[in-house]
Symmetry: none
Subunit: 237 residues, 2 copies
DNA sequence: TAATTTGTTAATAAAGTGTTAACTGCGGTT
DNA sequence: AACCGCAGTTAACACTTTATTAACAAATTA
């Protein structure tokens, strides 16, 4: 298995490079989603939880800094690694290196990128929600708004409190929408271990989440007999 | 005998090289299918199950990266070994060198290729369905689309749910189309063991699959009395 | 034709799931 | 220290889904 469970967002416009870097990151057990421009990047960021963002500065339309600024309004912590051209002016580079973020000049080696990613992820490990990820304040799930920090799930003005495990399970599902997740995978990642009774516990939580999300018929938790579950979000038109 | 069980796809436009490499791989007990360009490669990939892909980067029409990207959309795990020309730009090569995928600069030695293949196959153990490894998201079987992860078989817009065993059996057949498979082989690979009653169980499943595939007269499961079965797909013109 | 193998449907047994409620352990209160 | 409230686990029970076994018909082989 060897799952790192970390989810990264890679923003890069050059197609070949994007493919190679994505592929390499995946081979190193990161979950990677890609955006080829700033708009798509922000869209993705709004409805997903990422542990780290790799961001090319030179992008069509909205440039990398602009994207970073917008991201920072919603999330002050998620590490951002900028991919910069060699031609960057001194002041911009120094501005970058001061914060928690970092930069890598092109052309770069995968070793270098992997190493920096590793360092950042290690550093940003401390937070209340056990598991792995860094805190995004708000995640949209269908008609709902999920606040991992607040442990709330709100919809249509009203808000419901969640327990820690409920929140972690929702977060895990939100991280892998529309994907078949094995019982084993869920238990390992959310509960940390896996035995018969925890499996039943999972069923109890599933049952509860179904109730919570029942107001939005586009959100479903489907069981695949003998395998696991799929948290699916149909985006309506 | 000496069946390696591993099935490879070799994509290479140079005819002589293609022939030599294929021959060499076969000498080493790999099942090898070849494609001379990206289009054919993708076509083959759509209706076959491969354990590893050897992919020339320089191809007519669609280049190797483009092929790889398309493959990765459907299968995140299958190892890809790139054959690259020396002329590649620095950053792309360095980006490649680290991941689980690999590259081999031309000209290369067969030893080198064989060694890398061996390493990759060992690492990416081809697992049963439930373990979700090297799963292609979608495999075309005649008019049908088979989704191993989702456990569905769809055709003409409508989709039917499969059980785990049904899916495993279909997957096994799909990997060895038009080949005679002994009862023993099927039972060992799909059921894990072999006794009289499991044999009868297999017959029940065969019967069911025949029903599922009956809408496409080009797909047949033929019994060879006293021997086993052949899952055959006639490609229409 | 007799024996064996296969095709098919139905019956049975086994495993997995959905749900509610009871239990357990723990931190915080009185 | 006894009590409370709560989150998470375990228990219980009904129910669903799946795989295996049984039963019998049909086909094949010797």
């Amino acid at each position: 298995m060897a799952e790192s469970e970390y989810k990264l967002l890679l923003v890069e416009d050059d197609e070949a490079l994007r493919f190679i870097v994505k592929d390499n990151l995946e081979q190193n057990n990161y979950l990677v989603e890609v955006a080829e421009n700033g708009e798509i990047a922000l869209e993705l960021f709004n409805s997903n939880i990422y542990d780290l963002i790799v961001l090319d500065v030179m992008l069509p339309k909205i440039d990398g800094f602009e994207v970073a600024r917008t991201i920072r309004q919603k999330n002050e912590q998620v590490p951002i690694i900028f991919l910069t051209a060699r031609s960057m002016t001194e002041d911009k580079i120094t501005a970058l290196t001061l914060g928690a973020d970092d930069y890598i000049p092109k052309p770069f080696s995968m070793e270098e990128l992997l190493l920096k990613i590793k360092i950042f992820l290690k550093r940003s490990q401390t937070h209340p929600l056990a598991g792995s990820s860094n805190l995004t304040k708000l995640i949209s799930i269908g008609k709902f708004q999920f606040h991992p920090e607040e442990l709330t799930l709100s919809f249509n003005g009203s808000s419901r409190n969640l327990t820690l495990k409920e929140a972690e399970l929702i977060r895990f599902f939100a991280k892998h929408p529309n994907k078949v997740l094995s019982r084993n995978e869920i238990l390992e990642k959310v509960w940390g271990s896996n035995d018969y009774f925890l499996g039943r516990s999972l069923d109890v939580f599933i049952s509860r989440l179904r109730k919570y999300f029942s107001q939005d018929s586009n959100i479903k938790i489907t069981n695949l007999h003998g395998i696991g579950f799929r948290f699916s979000i149909k985006n309506e038109k």
